[in-house]
C-alpha cells in the first residue's frame, strides 16, 4: 500500500487505481519471467517482448535504449518503480518529459549529444529504396546531414558560435529541444519510440 502511494506521487500522471493496475501487470510479468531476478524485476528480453506486444515497437536499437532509460539504476532489470515511472512518461508525459525521453533514446552512448554516427546508426535502415548508381550508404549519410542542418540550424543564426559547431556534427539537448518546439513532428525524428495514438 505504501508502495502504491509513493508511486502515485512520483509518477504524477496516473491516479491510484491506474498505478494499481500497472503494478499488477508488473507482477504478472515478473512471474512469467524465468530469471534470477525473480520477485524483483524482469530483464531486457521480457521488456522488449512486452513493449512489442503492447505498443507494436519493433526497432531493436530503440528498444535497447528504452530499456536502459527505464533501468535507472542500471542493474540490468526493471523494478516496479522503474516500470511505473517509465510508463508515466511514455503514456502521459508532458512535452518536456517526452523531449528528454526521446533525446535520451537517441543519445546512444549517453554522452549528452546525438552525434552523426549515432544518427547514422538509427537511420541506416530507413531508406528502403536506394538509387542504383549510388553507394549504398550515401543516401543515409545525406539524410543525416539534412537532419543535422535542420535541427542544429538554430546555431547558424547565432554568429559568434560560427560554423564550427556544425562541423562538430552533433546535437545537444538544447538543439533538440528548440527544434522540437519549432516543429513538433521532430519529436521522434530518428525513429518511433513513443506509443502510437492508434
Amino acid at each position: 500500500k505504501l508502495l502504491l502511494d509513493s508511486l502515485t506521487r512520483s509518477a504524477k500522471h496516473f491516479n491510484k487505481s491506474e498505478v494499481e493496475c500497472l503494478v499488477n501487470l508488473f507482477d504478472t510479468l515478473v512471474a512469467r519471467a524465468s530469471s534470477h531476478y525473480a520477485g524483483v524485476g524482469f530483464d531486457r528480453t521480457v521488456f522488449r517482448d512486452t513493449l512489442y506486444s503492447a505498443f507494436g515497437m519493433t526497432d531493436d536499437v530503440v528498444l535497447d535504449r528504452v530499456f536502459s532509460i527505464f533501468d535507472k539504476s542500471n542493474n540490468g532489470y526493471i523494478t516496479v518503480v522503474d516500470w511505473v515511472e517509465g510508463l508515466a512518461v511514455l503514456l502521459r508525459g508532458t512535452l518536456e518529459e517526452k523531449m528528454k525521453y526521446c533525446f535520451a533514446v537517441y543519445d546512444l552512448n549517453g554522452d549528452g549529444y546525438i552525434s552523426r554516427e549515432e544518427m547514422f546508426q538509427m537511420l541506416k535502415n530507413s531508406l528502403l529504396i536506394q538509387p542504383a548508381d549510388e553507394e549504398p550508404d550515401e543516401g543515409v549519410k545525406d539524410l543525416v546531414e539534412i537532419a543535422l542542418k535542420k535541427m542544429a540550424s538554430t546555431y547558424l543564426l547565432v554568429p559568434f558560435l560560427l560554423q564550427d559547431y556544425d562541423h562538430d556534427g552533433k546535437l545537444s539537448f538544447a538543439d533538440f529541444e528548440q527544434a522540437v518546439r519549432d516543429e513538433k513532428l521532430l519529436l521522434e525524428a530518428f525513429g518511433p519510440c513513443l506509443p502510437d495514438i492508434k
Binding site: 530507413s126 531508406l127 528502403l128 543516401g139 545525406d142 542542418k149 521522434e188 525524428a189
Partner: protein
C-alpha cells in the same frame, strides 16, 4: 486594385460571382530555362520521401519546409519535380506524422493558383475531406485550412461538396458549446472549419449544403464569440451566404443582426468590413433594415465613413448604408447623424466600388425632401451630374437615380440644367444596357416636370423625342414602364406631344396595352391619358384597339392603376366610338364602384367618364326613337 486582406480570397461585392480563377490558369514562363536551385533541392528531398520509411519521410518533409515555400519558383519546383504527387500520396497513408508533414507543405503552397489546380487535378481534395474524419485534431485543422486554400475555384468547391466535405466541415464547428470563454483548442478547430466553409460558400449549391447540414445555428453560436480570429471567417461565411433569402431569414430569426452590429465597433478593420458587408447583403429585407436600426447599427455605420483610407472597408460600409437607406425611418436617422453631408464629400476621388454605393445611398436619401436640399448645399449636384458621363453600368444606374431624386426640387433642377444634366440623361437613353436606359428615363420624369421652360428644353435635344418614342419598341419591361412615365410628362407640352404623335407614339403605346404588369399598366394609362390631348389621338387610340385592354385594367387590385386608367378612359371617352367600346366592356359598372373613392382625381375622372358614356347612350336612344 485593393490590397487583399489576410484571409479573404475574394473582394467585397457580388457573393455569387465566380472569378477568373475558374478558367485553367496560364503559366507564365520565365526567361531562363535553367532549373533553379530550388528544383534540385526539392528533387533530392522528394527522393527521400519516396524511398524512405516514415522516419526518413518526416525528416525530409521538415527540411522541405525550410525552403522558401511562399516563393513561386519553389512552389513550381514542387509541381515540376513530381513532388506534389508524392505529397498527395502521403495523405492517403495512415501515417499521421507523414500526413501532417505533407499537409503543412500543401497548406503553404496551395496559395499558388497553379498548385491549387494541380492539387485538385491529382485528387487531393477527396483525400483531404477523408482526413477530416481523423481523430487527430492538428491533422483535421491542417486539412481544413488547406481545403480553404484550394477551394478558391469553382471546380474545387464542387469536388468538396460531392465528396461529403461540407457536412464534415460543418461538424468541425460543433466542437464545443460556446460559453463566454472559448477554449483555445476548440476555437482552433472551428476556426479552420470556418475558413474552409468560407471558401466553399462562394458556390450557391454549397451554401444550400451548409444550410442542410445544420450549419446556420452553429454559425450563429460562434458569432457570439469574441475572438476576432474565428469571427472573421464566420462573418465572412455569413456574408457570402447572405445573398440567399433562406439565410437572411435565419439571420433575422437567430438574432444575428445584434452581433453583426456589435462587431462593427471591433478594433479589427477586416472584421468590421465583413460585418458591414453582411449587412449590405442582408438589408435587402425590410425586416433586417428595421433590426439594424433597432440594434443601433446605423450610427456605427455612419461613423465608419470617417475611415476613408481602407477602401475595402469603405465600400462595404457605404454599401450597407445604401441598402439601409431604402427604409425611410433609417433615412431620418442618417439625417440626424449628418451622414448625407459625409457621403457628399465621398463623391470625389474614390474608387468605383465606393462611388457606386455612395451614390446609391444618396439616391435613396433623396426620398426625404430635406436631403435633396442638403445635397445641394454641400455642393453635391455638380459631381453627380459629372458622373453622368461614366461608363460603368452599375454606377450609371445609381447616378441616374440620384440625379432624378435631386431633380424633384426646382432649385436643384436649375443647377442640373445649367450643367447640361438633362441632355446627358437623355443621351443615356441611347446606352445599350436596359437598366441604364430605364433609370435614365425614370430620372427624366422629375426633370421634365421641374425644369424651367421644360418644353423648349426637350425640343432642343436633337432627335430626342424620336429617340424616346422608339424606346417603346424595347423588350424590357422596366424600360417600357419608365419610358411611358417620361412620355406622360413630356406630353404635357402640346408642341412636344405633336412631335411625338408624328413619330408614332399612339400605335406604339397601344401595342403595349395588353399587359398584366400593374406598374406598366399604370404608367401606360397615364401616358395614354396625356397623349389624348392632341388632334385626333383619341380616335387613333380607339382605332389602334387600346380601349378594350384598358377597360380590363379596372379589374386590377391596384388603386394607382385604377386612377391612371380612369384618367385615360375619361380622356378617351370624349370620342363616341370609344364610348361604345367602353360600354361593351362594362366600364360603367366598374367605374361606378370608384365614384365613391377618397381619391379626388379618381373620383372626378370616373364620374366624367361615366357621364360621357351616358350622354352618348342617351343621344343614341334619342336618335333611335326620334
Amino acid at each position: 486594385i485593393f490590397s487583399k486582406a489576410s484571409s479573404s480570397p475574394e473582394d467585397v461585392g457580388e457573393s455569387s460571382s465566380e472569378t477568373e480563377e475558374d478558367e485553367q490558369p496560364v503559366r507564365y514562363q520565365e526567361g531562363s530555362t535553367e532549373l533553379s536551385a530550388e528544383y534540385w533541392g526539392i528533387q533530392k528531398l522528394t527522393k527521400y520521401v519516396k524511398g524512405g520509411d516514415p522516419t526518413a519521410t518526416v525528416i525530409a518533409l521538415c527540411s522541405m519546409r525550410d525552403l522558401n515555400l511562399s516563393q513561386e519558383a519553389c512552389q513550381l519546383a514542387i509541381k515540376d519535380t513530381g513532388c506534389l504527387e508524392v505529397l498527395i500520396n502521403l495523405l492517403d497513408t495512415e501515417e499521421i506524422k507523414c500526413q501532417t508533414g505533407s499537409l503543412k507543405i500543401l497548406k503553404e503552397i496551395s496559395q499558388n493558383i497553379l498548385i491549387r489546380h494541380a492539387i485538385a487535378d491529382l485528387g487531393g481534395l477527396e483525400i483531404m475531406v477523408k482526413i477530416l474524419d481523423s481523430p487527430d485534431t492538428d491533422l483535421k485543422c491542417l486539412a481544413a485550412e488547406t481545403i480553404a486554400n484550394v477551394a478558391r475555384f469553382k471546380r474545387a468547391r464542387k469536388t468538396v461538396r460531392q465528396h461529403g466535405g461540407i457536412k464534415r466541415l460543418v461538424e468541425l464547428l460543433e466542437s464545443i458549446s460556446v460559453g463566454s470563454s472559448c477554449q483555445d483548442e476548440d476555437t482552433e478547430i472551428a476556426r479552420c472549419g470556418a475558413l474552409a466553409l468560407w471558401s466553399c460558400s462562394k458556390s450557391p449549391k454549397n451554401r444550400k449544403a451548409i444550410r442542410k447540414a445544420g450549419g446556420i445555428p452553429l454559425l450563429a453560436r460562434w458569432l457570439g464569440c469574441s475572438h476576432a480570429d474565428i469571427l472573421i471567417p464566420i462573418v465572412g461565411t455569413l456574408q457570402e451566404c447572405a445573398s440567399e433569402p433562406s439565410y437572411r431569414l435565419a439571420i433575422r430569426t437567430e438574432g444575428m443582426i445584434e452581433n453583426l452590429v456589435k462587431n462593427l465597433s471591433s478594433e479589427h478593420e477586416e472584421l468590421q468590413m465583413h460585418c458591414a458587408s453582411a449587412i449590405f447583403k442582408c438589408a435587402e429585407d425590410e425586416e433586417i433594415r428595421d433590426l439594424v436600426r433597432k440594434h443601433e447599427g446605423l450610427q456605427p455605420l455612419s461613423d465608419l465613413l470617417d475611415n476613408s483610407e481602407n477602401k475595402q472597408l469603405l465600400a462595404a460600409v457605404t454599401g450597407a448604408i445604401w441598402k439601409c437607406a431604402i427604409s425611410r425611418e433609417n433615412v431620418l436617422k442618417f439625417q440626424e447623424y449628418k451622414t448625407i453631408e459625409t457621403l457628399v464629400t465621398l463623391l470625389t476621388d474614390q474608387p468605383e466600388e465606393v462611388l457606386i454605393n455612395v451614390i446609391g445611398a444618396l439616391g435613396e436619401c433623396c426620398q426625404e425632401q430635406e436631403n435633396r436640399g442638403t445635397i445641394r448645399r454641400c455642393g453635391g449636384i455638380a459631381p453627380l451630374v459629372k458622373l453622368l458621363t461614366a461608363t460603368n453600368r452599375a454606377l450609371l444606374v445609381n447616378v441616374n437615380k440620384a440625379v432624378g431624386g435631386c431633380a424633384m426640387e426646382p432649385e436643384n433642377m436649375a443647377i442640373i440644367d445649367s450643367l447640361d444634366g438633362v441632355r446627358l440623361l437623355w443621351s443615356l437613353l441611347r446606352n445599350p444596357n436596359p437598366d441604364v436606359q430605364a433609370s435614365a428615363a425614370w430620372a427624366l420624369c422629375p426633370c421634365v416636370e421641374n425644369a424651367k421652360n421644360s418644353g423648349e428644353m426637350v425640343r432642343s435635344f436633337v432627335g430626342g423625342l424620336e429617340l424616346i418614342v422608339n424606346l417603346l419598341k424595347s423588350n424590357d419591361k422596366e424600360v417600357l414602364t419608365s419610358v411611358c412615365a417620361a412620355i406622360a410628362n413630356i406630353a404635357k407640352d402640346q408642341e412636344n406631344l405633336a412631335v411625338m404623335t408624328d413619330h408614332g407614339v399612339v400605335p406604339l403605346l397601344s401595342k403595349l396595352a395588353n399587359t398584366n404588369n400593374n406598374e406598366l399598366r399604370r404608367h401606360l394609362a397615364e401616358a395614354i391619358a396625356h397623349c389624348c390631348m392632341w388632334g385626333s389621338n383619341r380616335v387613333a387610340f380607339g382605332e389602334a384597339k387600346a380601349v378594350a385592354p384598358l377597360a380590363r385594367y379596372l379589374k386590377a387590385k391596384d388603386p394607382l392603376v385604377h386612377r391612371a386608367t380612369a384618367l385615360a378612359l375619361y380622356q378617351l371617352s370624349e370620342d363616341p366610338n370609344n364610348c361604345v367600346i367602353m360600354h361593351e366592356n362594362e366600364v360603367v359598372k366598374l367605374l361606378l364602384a370608384m365614384v365613391g373613392s377618397t381619391d379626388d382625381t379618381l373620383q372626378e375622372a370616373a364620374a366624367g367618364c361615366i357621364a360621357n358614356i351616358r350622354r352618348l347612350a342617351l343621344a343614341t336612344e334619342k336618335a333611335k326613337y326620334g
